[in-house]
Symmetry: C3
């Protein structure tokens, strides 16, 4: 009977997982739009066919990478590298029967950490904000991974 409750909307921990993983994914995919916005602002596209009458190709700009665009892309990539493990570990962690309190703290810490990480990357904030935010999210992933291994072994 255990599994019935684990991945059910009646299960409070699974609902928390649904909520926080949705929020963090929304944040991540927002960066797709933001990349497009920054590219348009600077007229810095990478694919030849993206230039048009309104955005004519400027040889200088096209050859150089635009640092603002690259910054958003690094932020996005860092999200991919960290949010993927969170989503998978979070789902599996929900199956290890944690308390609602522990799950709330865990998911919320990760979510806040990743929002802080994005702000620190994009504004940018000075050291050590981005590093602290990264570390906080990373520790949540490690914590969930260890919980899963303890449950399995």
């Amino acid at each position: 009977m255990v599994a019935v409750e684990i991945f059910s909307i009646e299960n409070e921990v699974f609902r928390l997982y649904l909520l926080y993983s949705s929020v963090v994914l929304f944040k991540m995919i927002f960066l797709s739009f933001y990349t497009f916005h920054v590219r348009t602002k600077h007229g810095a596209f990478i694919s030849e066919e993206d230039y048009c009458k309104d955005f004519p190709r400027d040889e200088m700009k096209a050859l150089m990478k635009n640092e603002d665009v690259e910054r958003v892309r690094r932020c996005h990539r860092n999200d991919l590298e960290n949010i993927l493990p969170f989503l998978v570990f979070g789902l599996l962690y929900s199956a290890t029967n944690p308390s609602v309190f522990a799950a709330t703290i865990t998911f919320r810490t990760f979510t806040i950490a990743r929002f802080l990480h994005s702000f620190a990357y994009l504004l940018p904030l000075p050291r050590p904000w981005r590093g602290v935010a990264f570390a906080a999210g990373f520790l949540v992933i490690l914590y969930m991974g260890v919980q899963i291994l303890f449950t399995v072994l």
Copy 2:
């Protein structure tokens, strides 16, 4: 009893999810092979140890990035950025008890959109094809995310 049916092969919506997520993942991992194919065709490897007798290192080619290779890699990266949210939201969306009709339209639209996106990127097709395909896939992700939040909240 709800959860029993949700992630079961007897559940039509979950079977649709299995089908479309497999198809879209097959498409994505095909790009790994395609990158290798284009690298080999142009003799444009990035890692030193990939050059060998049959593919000798050409200083000019090795220093310059090959635009055809970079195009496939951008296409692949865009897949990662979009297919990951689809896979996670799609799984969770399947748990929100959508109708078979709605789930079919949703999953199929995303799948067609991502195939179109890849074709538009690799051929390449002129504006606005790639943008339209991206937007269609993106809207499906947003739609599923909103459905999940409505169910949770």
Copy 3:
């Protein structure tokens, strides 16, 4: 009643999935730290604000990409491209009711292949080690994908 047992810790195949996917994710996220380590070693950061008193900006180094750093990043990216499909297909493959023996071989082959791939990339090992490791992991993904499609269709 099938689904009850599938995603339950009592189900041996699901426990194997939990174990191997955790191990392979731990390996992947380790590369985040390793990138940071290599960047620090070479003083090669990409974001302006990462330079500080202890790591002053060196114009030459900042302009050139550091090959050691880029190598770790390529390795990390290849992990993302392959471990994401494994995690999703692995979860769905667990739902196709494979034997414990088949699941063990499948998950273990992938895990060994990805560890070998990382070693081959980072040491680096000469041809054809990285290619062999990549191919082995790739075949596992394809095998699981085909099993899922057979079950659904």
